[in-house]
Amino acid sequence: MKVSDMRRNNRRRDNCIGLLVATALVACPLAASAQAELNLPILVPITGFLSLEGTSQRNGALLAIKNAPSSVKITAEVTDTGSSPEGAVTALERSLSRGKVSAVAASMLGTQMLAMLPVALENKVPLATVSGTADITEKNNPYVFRFFPGDAVAKGAHVRYVLEELKKKRVALVYQTTAYGQSGRKHIVELLKKSGIEPVMEEALDVAVKDMSAVIGKVQAARPDVIMLHLHGGPSALFIKQAGAAKVNLPIVAGSGMSQPTTVALMEPAELKGLCAETNAAPVAGGSPQMDKFLAQYRAEFKSEPDGFAVGQYDATSMIIDVVAKGAKTPEDIRKALSGGSFKGLAMTYKSDGKGNMAHSAVIICYDGKTRMPKIVKRYD
């Protein structure tokens, strides 16, 4: 082979290599964008007194991840936060120490969220939760996003239904001593006050109280025309059951605890007659093809009925996946996208109010006493 031929061949080889390198350089970013990455730890209470709600959160997040587009590569490790604030903080710090965290599906327990907020702020990681505790979005922390109606929305619907639809004025209020209970009580009392109404009776119950006959006796003695409950699921069921046994024939409008199918399953349909409750969504009641599909998939996957918390966390996780699929790469990108964008989820359209409150709708469901299936009777947007 002549030297000139060798040089020509070398030039062709170099050109080919150059072409391959150039192709690779162009192709690599394309491949990277085709497989956006999302590291989303799921830190929820799987044990403890909020384990039921935490399990719903976990299931909702996992289902959203299962339905994620293939263009997003998701790492999601579930950690049980228990029911203590330190359990939640430890879980968050452990996740952060293990690698780059994009965002967190965070506990719905208000006290845990309040403890995690400073850590999220320090590490600049968005937390997506379904906690109803009002305070979590009142701390000027730009890294918290609540995909469940906060007390201002949920209790607004709760009070409006009592005053406007039931037209009741003599309210007996029973609430939980937890952060959730106290925060809800504050909103209910303030909203009633705006309408010139003072509760005729109010009392707080610890989650450990099993026999509620004393508080039921006080409710009866105060002669209310409606009972408003702001209790967790199990205590709500206990109250309603014991009030029924004590022949308290008053309308009861409960908090979101009584929208949970597992709580409702503790009671006979007749015991539920006339009972209403506020919630973000009632997935078991269906209502749209998307919700029906979610319901079927949830039942098949987890062999249980979904509740509003599962839907809320499903929507929260879906929105995070959506913003990552659309190009958000860093936690800061995700935070900005959650802060400024809107997302049509299963329960409602989510958009931040500037404080991280994404959900602005609530519904009232009621039971007819014949089945355990609720009906949505009023929607407040």
């Binding site: 044990t47 007194f49 001593t177 450990a208 109280v209 006796g217 046994a245 503790l266």
Partner: protein, 303 residues
């Protein structure tokens, strides 16, 4: 009104008495606090739910089966939580019972999930009126079953040979061994008896108040307080302590209903929250001023 409140308190106190009795039996036999005792109550509730769903029988008929299963569980429990550590400092047994309790909780969570469950009623869930008060059939059943079990347990310990051996083991293990009593067998039997009582309480409480995997923590605290109030190691004291707790939970916050002026004088004092605080203040006072408990003696008769 007063009778109604007392009836509710009695039903609650009867169930607490069963769990406090089991707790104090094991305490006396081993000298160690069984922190998993509340989880035994929880386990009894889930055993009742499992058996009820398979056999479709009311709780009253399931009770002997639940008691038998829980006695067996208590027996096995002693071989994991107590015997391997019996020659170590008491704190080792405390820790092992806590560990087993957490294992029970998480196992129940894995098998049944976190949602509250309802156990089968003893006979029915209806109510009936009696002398102007409404009593739930379940509440009445709890009182009757608790009385039967407490009397049976009393007869077993005081009128039978095995009871004498159990008492001898609780009073002085070395002396009991010296006179030929198989001490380990007696201790294992005590775990079985205590767990059987906890299981019976679990069956009854799981219908009235539902059951979740984490309920045991709350129940063991009640047992602990009942025993401290009644007298550390005293069986009758444990029953009285349990009834006092129930009175604080039910009667005290109801006092304004019985004495209306209290509602005006100090409404804040008769809330459920305040009554819990007062119960614990009372507990501290007893520990300071009468450390042997309200019904304890300086030298107590154990088991």
């Amino acid at each position: 009104m007063l009778l109604q409140i007392l009836a509710n308190a009695l039903a609650l106190g009867a169930a607490y008495a069963l769990l406090a009795l089991g707790f104090v039996l094991i305490l006396n036999a081993t000298g160690a606090v069984n922190f998993a005792h509340g989880d035994m109550v929880m386990a009894g509730g889930y055993v009742a739910i499992a058996m009820g769903s398979v056999l479709q029988l009311p709780g009253a008929l399931l009770l002997p089966l639940v008691v038998a299963v829980m006695a067996l569980l208590g027996f096995v429990f002693s071989w994991f939580a107590y015997f391997p550590l019996k020659n170590r400092p008491p704190v080792s047994v405390f820790i092992s019972t806590i560990a087993l309790g957490i294992i029970f909780q998480n196992s129940a969570n894995a098998i049944y999930g976190a949602a509250p469950r309802k156990g089968p009623p003893l006979l029915s869930e209806g109510n009936f009126g009696m002398g102007g008060i409404t009593i739930g059939a379940q509440a009445l059943g709890i009182v009757v079953v608790a009385i039967v079990l407490i009397v049976a347990q009393h007869l077993l310990l005081n009128r039978s040979g095995i009871g004498r051996k159990l008492r001898a083991t609780a009073q002085d293990r070395e002396m009991a061994e010296a006179v030929g009593i198989r001490v380990n067998r007696m201790i294992a039997l005590t775990f079985a008896l205590g767990s059987a009582l906890a299981g019976a309480a679990g069956l009854m409480l799981s219908n009235t108040f539902f059951i979740t995997p984490t309920d045991g923590t709350n129940y063991v605290i009640k047992a602990y307080i009942a025993v401290t109030i009644g007298g550390w190691g005293s069986l009758s004291g444990a029953v009285c302590g349990a009834l006092i707790i129930a009175l604080f939970e039910v009667l005290f916050p109801s006092l304004p209903l019985l004495i209306p002026p209290l509602k005006i004088i100090a409404p804040w004092l008769f809330t459920q929250t305040a009554s819990t605080i007062l119960l614990y203040v009372g507990l501290l006072a007893i520990m300071f001023f009468r450390p042997q408990g309200l019904f304890g003696e300086t030298v107590q008769r154990r088991v």
